[in-house]
């Protein structure tokens, strides 16, 4: 693709970011932020990073957008949505100066970077041992699997932190408002029509993630979207957070992942895969992770319990 397209896209990205950050209206800002996320996803596609693009579109634009809309509504309902006090101009000046300096320093660093091939040659060379065709999955679940393990734990810890904000009388109750919708409304029809397709897309994304763009995080987000749609359509309520099967589902992925690492310790090296069996083990981890990520993301969006 031509450089003109890249230039136009970059200008659009910067414009959407400015509208999102400096918009007067909060809701409008959130909408522009979602547009911004989709444009960034487009930038990743033009750079050939389809895995990142999927993650950005699904998590960066989709889940973050839904989360911000939920927070906007929650803050407004709580009476916190009053107009902001104007910022004094010296602060504008100081912040503007600091931001310009930051931009200048980073740009200087970028322009003085030497050309390189990075690790782009090493990954395909070594990836044969994992029997995976997708180098990004190879890095995520092979070479840097330790990062991914900790990342799933960060997600679980974030959920625990969100739950810790539950008012004590609702502890272990049901999160989110009660969505009662007419059973034959448009949303309810969508709620019946889309979930089976979402499930197929999610299973495909994990399975294809071994050799093509996709993977546990992208698939987990699709499953979480299915969950949210079913709740929004009023077909099923959110589960009670004290339920044991739900908690087991949340911790399943990290436990399987950690368990494989510990079994590796018995077989020789900790946090390693058994030789020759890397691919089946990675697939088991990916499917377990997908379920846990889906549940964790959906519950992060639902927030702390608000009803008994």
């Amino acid at each position: 693709m031509s450089l003109a397209f890249d230039l136009a896209l970059c200008i659009l990205i910067l414009g959407a970011a400015a509208l999102a950050v400096f918009g007067r209206d909060l809701f409008g800002s959130i909408v522009f932020f979602i547009v911004y996320g989709v444009l960034i996803a487009l930038a990743w596609i033009t750079l050939g990073a389809v895995d990142v693009s999927l993650a950005e579109a699904a998590i960066g634009a989709g889940v973050t957008g839904v989360l911000l809309i939920g927070a906007w509504q929650g803050i407004r309902d709580g009476g916190g949505g009053e107009p902001e006090a104007p910022t004094p101009w010296p602060l504008h000046l100081a912040a503007g100066g600091a931001a310009a300096a930051l931009c200048g320093v980073i740009s200087f660093a970028v322009l003085s970077l030497p050309g390189h091939d990075g690790l782009a040659g090493e990954v395909p060379e070594n990836q044969g041992a994992l029997e995976l065709g997708n180098p990004v999955t190879g890095v995520l679940l092979g070479f840097r699997a330790y990062d991914t393990l900790l990342e799933t734990l960060v997600l679980t810890a974030a959920l625990a932190a969100v739950w810790s904000l539950t008012p004590s009388q609702f502890w272990g109750g049901i999160p989110g408002p009660n969505h009662v919708k007419p059973p034959d409304g448009v949303l309810a029809s969508f709620g019946r029509m889309l979930p089976p397709r979402g499930l197929i897309v999610a299973v495909y994304l994990v399975w294809a993630g071994a050799d093509a763009p996709g993977g546990a995080f992208q698939a987990g987000t699709v499953l979480a979207a299915v969950w949210i749609l079913i709740v929004l359509a009023g077909l099923r309520d959110e589960p009670r957070l004290s339920r044991l099967p739900l908690r087991a589902l949340i911790i399943l992925g990290p436990l399987v992942f950690l368990g494989v690492g510990l079994i590796g310790m018995l077989l020789g090296a900790p946090l390693s895969y058994p030789e020759g069996q890397a691919k089946p083990v990675i697939l088991v981890i990916e499917y377990a992770l997908t379920l846990s990520i889906a549940a964790t993301l959906a519950l992060l969006i639902a927030g702390p319990a608000r009803r008994r």
């Binding site: 939920g70 912040a95 890095v139």
Partner: protein, 107 residues
């Protein structure tokens, strides 16, 4: 060694611009939602800077790609917690500090 390609520089510089824009917004905007948006703009600016600099004609180096995916998820975890804190703060604000605060504590 030759310099980075044009596209690589273009996207890395856009990333730098986004970081600066988000940084400025994070300081001058007061509403929590705006600050969260600014935080996320800084985040994706850093990813674009990282990914742009790792672009080498045929695509982006897979190691940064994997790290960026990890980063996107971690940014989401932080956003979710900050949003929940903000909502709780707004809810407690008009109850003027009654006693139900944390008798039992979290998990």
């Amino acid at each position: 060694m030759e310099a980075l390609t044009d596209r690589s520089v273009l996207y890395a510089l856009t990333g730098a611009g986004l970081i600066a824009l988000g940084f400025y917004g994070f300081i001058v905007r007061r509403a929590l939602i705006h600050r969260l948006i600014a935080f996320n703009v800084i985040g994706s600016g850093i990813f674009l800077l990282f990914g742009g600099a790792a672009y080498f004609g045929g695509g982006v180096d897979p190691v940064p790609q994997a790290l960026i995916i990890t980063g996107i998820v971690v940014a989401l975890a932080l956003t979710a917690f900050a949003a929940a804190l903000g909502v709780r703060l707004a809810q407690d604000g008009d109850e003027d500090d009654d006693s139900d605060d944390d008798a039992e504590g979290g998990p």
